[in-house]
């Protein structure tokens, strides 16, 4: 199995969490590019306009749940309202520190969310995520 290098989009308002995600993605060697956003609205804008991607290789979105202004839920809802053609270019993973059952239940309603992962991100978690993808 040859792992395909992917473009990652990390969305988290916490700088340290972004940094961790970046380091882990780099160190695991699974990425060709990492874009980091501390504001989900900017990420959404980027996704809407992003046309520069390698066909056949989906972009991987890692999005946090609790964020000010636009939280992870609102982001996913906005994402799901995008045209199918755009959505198909991405896979969405959610990352959370939440242990709140209603949060977890809510995520299972979003068809576009492939998996929910507990923070912190680690090499092991990222590797298993990648295994799901390939």
């Amino acid at each position: 199995m040859t792992a395909r290098k992917r473009h990652f989009i990390v969305i988290d308002d916490n700088k340290l969490d972004c940094f961790i995600a970046e380091k882990i993605i780099l160190n695991t060697g699974v990425s060709e590019k990492i874009s980091v956003f501390d504001d989900a609205r900017k990420a959404l804008e980027y996704i809407r306009e992003e046309i520069d991607f390698t066909p056949g290789s989906k972009l991987v979105i890692l999005v946090d749940i609790q964020m000010p202004m636009m939280n992870g839920f609102e982001f996913v809802e906005a994402f799901e309202s995008l045209p199918e053609e755009t959505r198909n270019k991405f896979v969405v993973f959610m990352l959370t520190s939440s242990i709140n059952q209603s949060d977890l239940n809510r995520i299972s309603n979003y068809t576009s969310v492939l998996q929910l992962l507990n923070k912190p991100l680690s090499v092991v978690k990222l590797t298993s995520m990648m295994a799901v993808l390939s």
Binding site: K15, L16, F19, M69, S97, K119, P120
Partner: protein
């Protein structure tokens, strides 16, 4: 007994003589309202929502007492309903109990002692009910906040902890020293956030449950203390702190609340600065005059979006990702001001800065 403290009683009867007799007998001990018909009674009820006891005659030309009680039960659930009738009609009694949930049934002609004991009993019942109602509302509010609290703890306490945990994990295979330093700096931020969250919980609890200790306030002294706290930030981040205090009269207030209010407003003013601004400044202006303290905390920082202004005093609301925070500070400030009968207003322009104005009356 003062007029205001008298129990308010409403009596509805189509026989005017009964109304006159009732009022004459009980007006010294109670505040009596009388009504010749049900529309008149409704008028009294809408004007005096604190009527505690309603006596109503059963046989009236427009409707029966039972019908009237049944109608008002949902609109005015609090007054205690007592039916008054000259007929011992078992059907009416059954209906009165089952349909209009009356408290008592008094026969006509009445004995004064019966009426008085009914009013006293009903009033006690009313008080107990009102107490339960108020306590229930408080309890509901407390539960709602507890829910929010429990939810925020998973994010605001667990969040920084997991960040640090993640960073420790990553640090094990980072060899680059500057990278490690960056990480330590961010870990330090996380620890500070956690600590300030705990500080905020402490403030929250103090405001909610603590008693006010009203004492003489010297604003110069309080401000000096705050100045010490922010001196380091002011120097490190190159933010000018200008202070002006004018107090020519004594002022009494709760010192802990005042300090908390000032500290939160100043901390926000220092926190939400524009990065590249060369003349960052925070302005604290306090004027005590004619029994009111007016406090202005002004900054030339990032400002607040007009959409967010209505929300910033809400618990856990955060208007920006620029700075960390739990969205707790201004909630505590507002809560403390409610207790002090004070007020807070804010004027802000995005990119220009914000002015918070607090006014607190002397106690």
């Amino acid at each position: 007994m003062a007029e205001l403290e008298k129990i308010k009683v409403l009596y509805i009867d189509d026989e005017v003589n009964n109304l006159i007799g009732f009022k004459a007998s009980f007006r010294l001990d109670y505040k009596i309202f009388t009504a010749n018909n049900t529309p008149e009674a409704l008028l009294h009820l809408s004007k005096h929502p604190d009527i505690r006891v309603i006596f109503c005659d059963q046989r009236m030309p427009d409707k029966t007492g039972v019908q009237f009680f049944k109608e008002i039960k949902s609109i005015y659930p609090h007054p205690i309903r007592i039916l008054l009738t000259g007929y011992t009609d078992i059907e009416a009694v059954i209906e009165a109990i089952n349909l209009s949930n009356i408290f008592r049934y008094v026969t006509k002609p009445w004995i004064d002692a019966d009426i008085i004991s009914s009013i006293e009993e009903a009033s006690r019942f009313y008080m107990a009910n009102s107490m339960i109602f108020i306590k229930n509302e408080e309890l509901q509010k407390a539960y709602d906040e507890l829910d929010k609290f429990a939810y925020s703890v998973t994010h605001d306490v667990r969040g920084p902890l997991l960040s640090i945990l993640g960073a420790i994990d990553v640090a094990q295979y980072v060899d680059n020293i500057p990278d490690l330093r960056d990480m330590l700096k961010m870990m330090e931020e996380s620890v500070k956030n956690l600590d300030s969250y705990i500080q905020n919980i402490h403030d929250y609890h103090n405001v909610k449950r603590g008693e006010l200790h009203i004492e003489e306030i010297d604003f110069n002294e309080i401000v000096k203390e705050q100045e010490e706290i922010f001196k380091l930030t002011s120097r490190l981040k190159n933010i000018k702190l200008a202070i002006n205090v004018v107090q020519h009269e004594p002022f009494r207030c709760d010192k802990i609340s005042l300090k908390m209010i000032l500290n939160n407003l100043l901390s926000n003013a220092f926190k939400f600065q524009t990065k590249d601004n060369k003349d960052k400044c925070v302005d604290l202006n306090i004027q005590v005059a004619t029994g009111t303290a007016i406090i202005y905390v002004k900054d030339n920082g990032i400002g607040i979006h007009s959409n967010d202004i209505g929300e910033i005093f809400n618990m856990f609301y955060r208007a920006t990702t620029e700075q960390n925070g739990a969205g707790f500070g201004l909630y505590n400030v507002k809560d403390a001001l409610i207790k002090l009968n004070g007020e807070i207003t804010v004027q802000s322009e995005l990119g220009e800065g914000s002015v918070f104005k607090v006014s607190i009356p002397n106690k």
